[in-house]
């Protein structure tokens, strides 16, 4: 579904990604972890073309992301993305947030979009808040709306960029529960996250990145059982201590 092949990226002289290669199959859930500044967020943003890259290639469902002729808006409309800071549109109500792209990008009519949006809102347990504005919801609720907004586009895959990092601890689980449920339904997911509990329960594979490189790319049990690289061992011991 997602094929990343030897992707490298520079900011001026500074190399942020070096020869990153991996594949994510349909229905697979992959967790990307690593220390901050390791390039994991940059890599996930390359997948839907939010960040350009200078060499290598990324294919999403057979479409090349970096190729000049690619219709990026079309490709992005088929890949859902959830951000660290939710990025709901603060000037639009929750319902309008859910409907905007359905109407403007997919060309659905207003009633259809609304019905779809409310149905997904119900699914993340927030139907009662449909008429509110983002600023009136808690962080955890906003992030669940953001997931519903992405799902409303009927995506073929979902990208999560540190979806729980900006949340207060007591709100993390409500978001992880939605993600877990989504994984159980067979959604293809690429998640940048530090939530190792979630990775253990839900992921099929774990990718460990450091200094712009994919250092380890292993099945979940192998990664947590016996990580091969020293850097991954160190990272795990730091993050799992508490």
């Amino acid at each position: 579904m997602i094929e990343i092949d030897k992707v490298s990226k520079w900011y001026g002289q500074f190399q942020v990604l070096t020869d990153c290669t991996t594949r994510i199959a349909k229905g697979e859930v992959v967790v990307v972890c690593g220390p901050s500044g390791s390039g994991k967020s940059t890599l996930i943003k390359c997948v839907n073309g939010l960040e350009p890259f200078q060499s290598g290639s990324i294919l999403v469902d057979g479409t090349s992301v970096g190729a000049p002729g690619t219709n990026l808006p079309k490709l992005r409309s088929r890949v859902g993305m959830v951000f660290q800071h939710f990025e709901l549109f603060p000037h639009l109500s929750i319902t309008e947030n859910l409907c905007l792209a359905q109407i403007k990008v997919l060309g659905r009519n207003a009633d259809e979009a609304r019905e779809k949006g409310l149905q997904l809102l119900d699914r993340v347990g927030l139907k009662a808040h449909a008429a509110k504005f983002p600023g009136q919801l808690s962080g955890g609720q906003q992030q669940r709306v953001a997931i519903a907004r992405a799902l409303a586009m009927d995506p073929i895959a979902m990208l999560f960029d540190e979806p729980t990092s900006a949340l207060d601890p007591e709100m993390i689980n409500e978001v992880l529960d939605v993600m877990t449920q989504l994984a159980a339904e067979g959604m293809t997911m690429m998640c940048v996250t530090h939530e190792m509990g979630f990775a253990r329960r839900v992921a099929h594979r774990v990718i460990f990145m450091d200094q712009g490189q994919i250092v380890e790319d292993a099945a979940k049990d192998d990664f947590f059982g016996a990580p091969r690289s020293e850097r991954a061992q160190q990272f795990l011991s730091k993050i799992l201590q508490h």
Binding site: K74, R78, M81, F83, F89, A146
Partner: protein, 217 residues
Amino acid sequence: MIDLQLVLDNRELLTEGMLYSLQLTAFATLGGIVLGCLLALARLSAFKPLSLLSAAYVNLFRSVPLVLVIFWFYFLIPYFGFQIGPDKSVFITFTLFEAAYFSEIIRAGIQSISRGQLAAAYALGLTYPQTMRYVILPQALRNMLPVMLTQTVVLFQDTSLVTIIGIKDFMGSTSVVASNNGAMTEMYTFAAIAYFCVCFPISMLLKRLHKRIAVIR
């Protein structure tokens, strides 16, 4: 200090002057916002020549006096053969001049919206024009509304400068009455009070608005 009889005797001239000042303000505000919006989008464009051109325009107009710009067009428009008269040509002058200032306000407004909003809109598949129209500009306009209205009050005051090229705006009409009747003290005091009475209540309202419109970050 104020000769009310003199003001009343000349009320038609003075009212006409005030209407002219208000028309000029309204026209230059609307025109300036439209042109300023285009300049701001050009400035933020990834296409370098366009961005540089817009920057040059804005910096040129912002580093010279409005009075000078009024004279530019006062002399240039007839020089290039257009006989439209200064009372019409200042509408162009003010629009072009104000556009530079509005474009800076709009640019700041757009830049006050976090990059994450842009990313989120793109991630949903919205195109650049759609992103601007439905996501960025509605938020940016709300954030910059108080500053824009303040700029409009400044603009209204600045329109008094057209008096210098002999146009009978409110200030110009006041000057005419003042010199025809040898009543400088009375008429200029009247002008000061009149401008204050228009601008002060609006400034106060804007201050309230400033506090009420929560800046969206």
